[in-house]
Amino acid sequence: MGKLKSWGIRGGVSLGKLKSWGIYIGRGVALLFAVSALSFALASASPINPETRYRLSHPGVSQENVTKMREYWGIDEPPVGRYLGWLGGLVRGEWGMSTTYRRPVLDVIGERFSASFALMATAWVLSGLTGFAMGCVMAAARDRWPDRILRRICLFLCSVPTFWIGLVLLAVFSANLGWFPFGLAVPPGVRAESVTLAQRIHHLALPALTLSCLSFANLALHVREKLVDVYQSDYVLYARARGECGAQILFGHGIRNALVPAIIMQFGSVSELFGGSVFAESVFSYPGLGSALAKAGMDASDIPLFLGIVMISAVFIFAGNLTANILTQVIDPRTKGVG
């Protein structure tokens, strides 16, 4: 019975539960450590470092300034020492200065994050709800025309890249129809205090729609597949033999069983969401984490900001997968105690 209690919906902290949490935290720390080491190693291996970059933009720089700069950035120190110094800073909350924004990395991330979070959360909820609903519709109408049409649309959306969808949406809704602004998170030339919520939503709509296209088609196809399986299962046959009606079968067996893969997929798609936001925000010049990351990595070589965003993304992706794990165990008793 102890096995039943761990993760049970009934409360109470058991030893098994504590152990599971210990394992999860251990894994999270190990993951963050690995991500930090790998991304630091990649950044160090880059041929562009602060000195070379400065020399490129300021051709006539004096030797004295170069020496000062090498000292400031610690370029002559061994990489392991630099890594440990950076790691220590991460733990203390000193993530360094962003070279592009001339401000502490954490401040930049904090500001960018709020914009990105609104975008990603909207896209995530939108894709989750429409994806699940569309999957149910396709399964209910399986092999008839609504299913065929929706399935083709989903397969199409799965196959095209996010930035292309963004460009098409821009061309249609902003350029041709003029319903939505071309980019940015707020209207230009308006004081920050006087931006209304409606204006923010107006600016958010197209990027969020673009980003949700990333995962909702995939989710819908998976939900459809699972529901079709459920409808062909022995337990639905048995439910019918026991006189349950269509609605009882759909709500009592269908949705519940289809929810498990949907949750795993939707929480697992947080990583794709971060990846997709880089493209979506770039296309719409949306001032979020994704566009900051693209800028920091590509043209500015803003290594402190770049690594900072990588670490924050890793935390969120880990949290998404962990949530999927825990929720699955709550819904599906067969996965209990399976790490």
Binding site: M1, L4, S233, D234, Y235, L237, Y238, A239, R240, A241, R242, G243, E244, G252, H253, R256, N257, V260, I331, D332, P333, R334
Partner: protein, 347 residues
């Protein structure tokens, strides 16, 4: 005795597609007849792949979309319309499925038996399950527990007829007997039980009547007692005077099970009498009987015909030692010595 269920000339076919346009019918069950009365336990026995489970699914109305049925199913004399079926399913008509896959993996078994707490407790203790079992999920059940859970679920609706589809595979001898006793108890309490099984031995011990199923049809319906004294060989030396037919196993005395079980009217484990059978009627039933380990383990050459490739005429003819010209015409079921047989030569 009132008949609860009557299945008359039942047939079942699947629409199949050969290529894109060519649709053909795959006949799985043909000319099947069976009745179940109140307090009666009828076993449909046959080998795997003979379409037995489809018969159970057909009665329950849970066949796949491409299934086409013919003949008639009567419920207490009324035609079983979809409307009637909807009304009685899960209540007067209960289904005991084959395996644990028929339980929803995400729902606690207690709730799958019934939502009525009082009834649940009563059923669970009646089948010697611990109260905690109700809180388990299907994957946590053992084979024997699953079986009992499904029986509880069937009884939750106070059924008049229980259709049980292969309830014993995967169970130990002991548990299988237990399960059969439960069905016997249901019948003794007045319900009809239709048991689909390939375990002929258990069927003989617990059922009242046995319908022998071959190639998608019932070749013989016999009292279970007939099997006890079933003559494994063909009745060449029989004198034909079978009217009263008490234990006529002809002169050959090497009949293995005959005398011992036949003469004695000892009550067996079920508390019922095993009768003095007069032997079986159809050559396939006899072959089935002879193939049982305690009756000599005699194999019969050949295989059951595939549903898509049934022979014209009598389905058993290709394997039958009694086959003649007459067998080119399919035999109609006819009453014989208290049973029903579909054979031109059965006496």
């Amino acid at each position: 005795m009132n008949n609860i269920l009557e299945v008359k000339d039942f047939s079942l076919a699947f629409a199949m597609y050969d290529g894109v346009f060519h649709r053909r019918m795959l006949n799985v069950i043909t000319n099947l007849n069976i009745t179940v009365g109140e307090g009666e336990m009828v076993a449909v026995a046959g080998s795997s792949g003979s379409g037995k489970s489809l018969l159970a699914h057909g009665i329950m109305g849970i066949l796949p979309q491409n299934a086409v049925t013919g003949g008639s199913v009567l419920w207490r004399g009324q035609p079983m319309t979809p409307k009637l079926l909807k009304k009685i399913r899960g209540r007067a008509l209960a289904f005991v499925p084959q395996s644990v896959t028929y339980l929803d993996p995400l729902i606690r078994v207690g709730r799958q038996i019934t939502r009525d707490k009082g009834k649940l407790g009563e059923l669970i203790s009646r089948y010697h399950l611990k109260p905690e079992v109700a809180r388990l999920y299907p994957h946590e059940l053992s084979g024997g527990m699953t079986r009992r859970i499904m029986i509880c679920a069937a009884l939750a609706g106070s059924p008049e007829l229980v259709v049980a589809d292969e309830p014993t595979p995967g169970l130990s001898r002991h548990l299988a007997e237990h399960a059969m006793k439960h069905f016997r108890e249901m019948a003794d309490a007045g319900a009809g039980v239709l048991l689909v099984t390939h375990d002929i031995e258990l069927a003989i011990r617990f059922a009242d009547r046995i319908a022998v199923f071959y190639g998608g049809t019932t070749v013989e319906t016999a009292d279970a007692a007939d099997f006890v004294n079933g003559d494994g060989r063909y009745p060449n030396g029989r004198d034909g005077g079978d009217g009263a037919g008490v234990g006529q196993v002809t002169g050959d005395s090497q009949d293995a099970g005959g005398d011992g079980a036949g003469a004695g009217s000892e009550p067996d484990g079920t508390g019922r009498r095993q009768g003095d059978g007069v032997g079986l009627r159809h050559p396939y039933s006899k072959a089935l009987w002879a193939a049982m380990p305690q009756n000599g383990f005699v194999p019969t050459p050949g295989v059951q015909p595939y549903a898509g490739d049934l022979p014209a005429g009598c389905l058993y003819a290709p394997r039958c030692p009694m086959r003649t010209q007459a067998c080119d015409v399919a035999p109609e079921p006819r009453p014989l010595r208290g049973g029903v047989v579909s054979c031109h030569h059965a006496v």
